[in-house]
Each structure stands twice: as structure tokens, then as C-alpha cells.
Symmetry: C2
Subunit: 366 residues, 2 copies
């Protein structure tokens, strides 16, 4: 029998479609995806993100790891530049006006904001599933530093950091990179979460994410991995196969609330989860994004920032688009067990504080 | 400069990304898509939807056009059958219970509902962009009759009729078909529209869709085509390139409110728009779905049923998923002009009551 599941925060339904259901290993197909990252060269002459090609991008806004030398020269380990083809642009934040002849019915304003690219490594053919933990830590540091630098901008209300991996997931440039878009409004998906979490909090006087995490850690059936400061699990009402959320274990509503050891732990867990996904599903395309509180708010007791990671394994079709109800063909409990158990090595044996047993070592780490 | 546009009903923002913007004709690439429908045979031995293979599907629930003969035999022109791999299933509608050990925190219930396939023609290689208007009328009749038959079922709250065309849009079977999923709850996307429309109505005492239609018909810049009973236009805050909505011109909240001449007009306009899209974009993949009021409600003054048609021309990536804010690389006014003007024939010359000039004759009609 198929099953409806409801997310306690968003109130949204998903369908776990028993008659269409697939075993998690169905998605572990060798050579299924368009780009074989392992077969790419380490440097591409024509790639604007490869070292030596710094002149092909707008001037950098941040570089990590360059000890000497001038800006926009090699020597960096992570480099952040404005997007060449931005979805939004710097502006004076003034509101737009309806154009003549259209009436006030159609509201538009200039697309003011910030759109940056965070180049995660010098190696064209690496990706977060195959970089070192140390390199991942620099990536997380670059997220944090850009977030911090932009958060004081009074024209901005929200910062979204996100990553598209693989062509099927919308990545147009192969060289590993994340992106940041800062907006002068709170996006609808985030507003929905904030409102759902607020409603829950009014009724029960507890952060729904803290409670979720407690429940997930207690049952363990949807846990993927964790360390002392972060946990990764697959949501009860997962919309997509292998959808995985990473949450800080301490209550914090903004990404900026993280302390240094927490940033280190986030890098370690994200590296672990991406490495594991890449290993068991053979470098699948995926998307991830951060959901954090709007900028410059006091600590919110009901909201808890997190990272949502979604492998792109199935097509989103008319029913999902029209209903907002996702049909998931993989049972989250089975996907989580598959991700925990495939391989054999225990993470504990690596002495890195990952508590979930059965999670094997990740592939190549540079 | 990029532009933010806000939808007056949903309140959602889109970004018309000027720096990434593409001319509408960019998407008109010959042979770009995975399936060349024109190259398929008219009948496939192995296709469960081809005539003569009626035994390969569950027993039909409706057949149109069969003058004699027994059910589940050839002679039909449109045939409706239960989905072999349903996302939801018939059930007694009883609520589910939280499973032991999980607590009430995780709410689930049996996936009760109805999932049907509407086989639109006997020809394996036709699609709604290339079938006759008469055949399209039978398809719309089948939508209407199944909607009507299921609407009395007290366990159901909402019926979604939808279509996936092409592999990129999630179609797994080539033979032209639509689908129907009936649910015991109101899906989130529809609830959001209902709430936004209600809020608008409370403030302004007019149906926002009626007003939108009036504004669109007055300016004409986003109009695609229309006849005496239906209009097609591209929304001001289009989320996707070439996104097109079809609305009845008379206020009506439910799909079931249509009179016979309106069903005929819907078939004619849908045929026209799909034929035109297929011609100018070379048979692109697309999704469409109907948004109608929940079942068994009195007429709603604030809601107006409609069809949303979305060609699948770009990938939805992390930013869109995480923000719910869509980045559209085509200006709707340009896409509408392109769809109106490409070709040259005036629709008026066909004497079919299409008021927008410049819309050329559609391709092959069987």
C-alpha cells in the first residue's frame, strides 16, 4: 500500500509510492550520469576557474590560502568571485515602479542583490565527494566569511548558499564551485518553513527541529551519520530518494551562529556524507542549499538553520509541480540503512567521532 | 538589469535574469529532445496503450468512441484505465496511525486515492500537438467525465489531471496519455493559491483571476491566443520560459462548471497552443496540470480554475528548489510575441474564432 507522510513543520504531504518503490541500490548505476568527473583532467586551459586563468573572472572578493602574491593570481586554495552572468546585481535598493500602461496590478522592481561563485579547489576534476577534509574546511570557511561580509548590507534580507553538481542538476561549469545569491526579500520556501516552525513553537514551546533531531537520534532508523556537533538524517517525509538534511545539534537559527569547532564539524560531516553518496551511487548529480534565518534578526527560538541535500535521481513531473506533493519511490528508512551500511568499514574505526556504525570509509581523498 | 516580479495571487517572486536572458528562438532547436515523436511507428507491438493490447492494462473504466464490441477490445478512440503502478490506491479512507516506537511526531496514513491513465488516441506516434481538434475534444470529454464520476466519492478531496510529454518531462511511456490522481487532501500548491486568492478577494471584492484576465486582454502583450470562451496568456511572473496559462473567460471555480460549448472551446484552444508550441519549439517536452477548486464545494467567488502549461526547457536547480524563487531566462512578453508571430498565417483566416492575429496554422493534424 502506498503511504502519505506529512512533514510536521511545512505541513506538506509526500507519497511513498509502494507500487513504484525501488530498492535503494537501483540508483547505484555505474556510468549512468552525463559527466564522469574522474575522467576529467586536473586543469583545463579554457576553464575560467582553473588556476592561471584568474583574469577570466571578475576580480576576486575573497581568496583563502594564498600566502603571498597579488590578488587574482595563482596560489589560492579557495577563491570567491562575482558571477559573470548574475541572476541579480548590485543596485541602490530603491523600489521599482509599475511601468506605464500596466497598472499597479503587475508589481516589479530592479533585481538588486549579490551573486557570487565560490571556487572550491584548484583541481578541475575534484568535487566535494573527493576533496580532503582540510579543503572542505576551507570551503565552509569561505561560505561563512562571505555570509558574514554581506550580512551587514542593509539592502539585503536573505542569503542563499547552494551547490549544483552534474549537468542533470543544473551545473553549467564542471569546475567544482558553490554559489551565493543574496536577496532583498525572504524567499517563499524559507518563509513557509519559518511560519510552520513558528506555529509549532507557539503550540509546543520547543524548536521543532531540535525535537526532530532528538526523535531521529533516538530511533536511529533514518540517521546517516553524525559527529559531536552535527547530525545527518533522511527526513521522515523525504520528497526525493536519498534526500538528506544536515543540522547543527546545538539550537541556532542562523548560519552565522556557528562557532569555529562547529564549522570544522560541518565540513567533516558534509565531506563524509558527500563522499559516501558519491561512493554508493557512483558520483550522482545533486543539489544542496542552506536554509538559515533572515539577516540581522535576533536569535529565533523556533528556527534552526540546516543544509538540505538532494540527489537528482528522478524527474520532477507535472503532478509534483502542480500539487507540490512529491512522489518518492524510495523508502527513506531503506535509503538511510543503505547509505549507513554499504561498504563495511565502521566510521568509528577512523576515530573521527562519527557515531553511526556501519558507515564505510569514503573514496579517494586528495 | 535583472528584474524581480511578484505574482499577485501567490505572492511569489521570480527573477527575470537579464544578464542570462535568452531570445525565445534559442529554444527552437531541431532534434534537441530525446524522443522524435514523428519518427515513431503508429503502432507498437509491446505498447500496453496501443489497440489490440487492451489485455495488457487493468480493465477500462471509460471508453469513448467504441460503437460496438465488448469492453477492453479495440474500437475506442479514447480509453481510461487504472494505472498499473499507482502512486495511490483505492482504500477505505480510514486514517492511519503512527507506528509504535515513532511517536505521534511522525504522521502517516495509507495512500488512499485513485490513479488513472487517459489514453488519448490509438496512434502511438501522435501527441496533442498533432491530433485533430475532434480527437482533442474527446480527450477533454474524458477528463470531464472521469472528474465528474469521481467527484462524488466522499473519501476524495481533490482531483489533479495532468500530462507529462517527453522523457525530460518525466514521461515513461511514449504512447500519448494524460493522468488523473485523486487525493483525500488538498495539495499544498493548490492551498497556497486558494489562500492567496481569498486574501485578494477579501481586500478587493473581485476574483483576482478575472481581473488578471481583463488586464492581460487589455494590454495584449502576454496574450498567446483566445476564443470566445477561453484565453491563453503567459503570466507576468512566469516561473519558466514559455509558461502558458489557459483560463475560462467566464468566472468558474471548478473544472466541472464548464458547459458543453466551453469544453469544446477548451479543446480547441489547448489544441491550438500545443500545436503552436510544438511547431515553434520543435516538439518540446512539457508538463501541464489543471488547478480546480477542491471537490464538492459551493461556487467560490475568489477562485478560478485553470490549466498551467510548462515546457521543460531549463533545469530546476538548487536555488529554485531552496528558495522557491524561479530564475527565468526568457522575458514572458518576448516569448508570447514569438509564439503569436512565428509563422505568418493569421488564425482568424481559419475562421475558428481565435482573436489574436499572427498565430499561424499548427502542424499536421490527423
Amino acid at each position: 500500500m502506498p503511504e502519505f507522510r506529512r512533514d510536521i513543520i511545512s505541513g506538506q504531504w509526500v507519497i511513498i509510492a509502494a507500487d513504484r518503490v525501488k530498492r535503494p541500490e537501483t540508483f547505484a548505476c555505474k556510468g549512468k550520469y552525463e559527466i564522469d568527473h574522474a575522467a576529467l583532467p586536473e586543469r583545463m586551459e579554457s576553464c575560467p576557474f582553473c588556476p592561471g586563468n584568474e583574469g577570466m573572472t571578475p576580480p576576486e572578493v575573497l581568496a583563502l590560502g594564498r600566502r603571498e602574491g597579488t590578488p587574482d593570481s595563482p596560489g589560492w586554495r579557495v577563491r570567491v568571485v562575482p558571477n559573470m552572468f548574475p541572476a541579480v546585481r548590485a543596485g541602490d535598493g530603491s523600489a521599482g515602479e509599475a511601468r506605464p500602461g500596466e497598472g499597479a496590478f503587475f508589481y516589479r522592481e530592479p533585481g538588486c542583490g549579490v551573486h557570487e561563485v565560490l571556487i572550491e579547489t584548484t583541481a578541475h576534476n575534484r568535487h566535494p565527494g573527493s576533496i580532503s577534509r582540510e579543503q572542505m574546511r576551507l570551503v565552509v570557511d569561505s561560505y561563512y566569511r562571505r555570509y558574514q561580509a554581506l550580512s551587514g548590507n542593509q539592502t539585503l534580507r536573505f542569503i542563499m548558499i547552494f551547490r549544483n553538481h552534474g549537468r542533470e542538476a543544473g551545473a553549467s561549469i564542471e569546475h567544482p564551485h558553490s554559489q551565493l545569491i543574496a536577496l532583498p526579500f525572504i524567499p517563499g520556501q524559507v518563509r513557509m518553513e519559518l511560519e510552520g516552525a513558528h506555529e509549532y513553537y507557539l503550540n509546543r514551546r520547543e524548536c521543532p527541529y531540535c525535537r526532530l533531531l532528538e526523535e531521529e537520534r533516538r530511533s536511529g532508523i533514518r540517521m546517516v551519520a553524525e559527529n559531536s556537533f552535527f547530525s545527518a538524517y533522511m527526513p521522515f517525509a523525504s520528497r526525493y530518494p536519498f534526500e538528506t538534511w544536515l543540522l547543527p545539534r546545538r539550537h541556532q537559527s542562523s548560519f552565522l551562529d556557528m562557532e569555529e569547532k562547529e564549522r570544522e564539524a560541518l565540513a567533516a560531516l558534509l565531506n563524509e556524507v558527500l563522499g559516501r553518496l558519491s561512493l554508493v551511487l557512483d558520483d550522482p548529480p545533486y543539489n544542496f542549499y542552506l536554509h538559515s534565518a533572515p539577516l540581522r534578526l535576533a536569535a529565533l527560538p523556533h528556527y534552526h538553520w540546516h543544509l538540505e541535500l538532494i540527489p537528482k535521481l528522478t524527474a520532477t513531473a507535472a503532478f509534483e509541480m502542480g500539487a507540490g506533493v512529491f512522489i518518492n519511490v524510495v523508502v527513506p528508512e531503506e535509503a538511510a540503512a543503505f547509505l549507513r551500511n554499504k561498504g563495511g568499514d565502521s566510521i568509528e574505526s577512523r576515530g573521527e567521532g562519527i557515531l553511526c556504525p556501519g558507515l564505510a570509509q569514503s573514496p579517494t581523498r586528495g
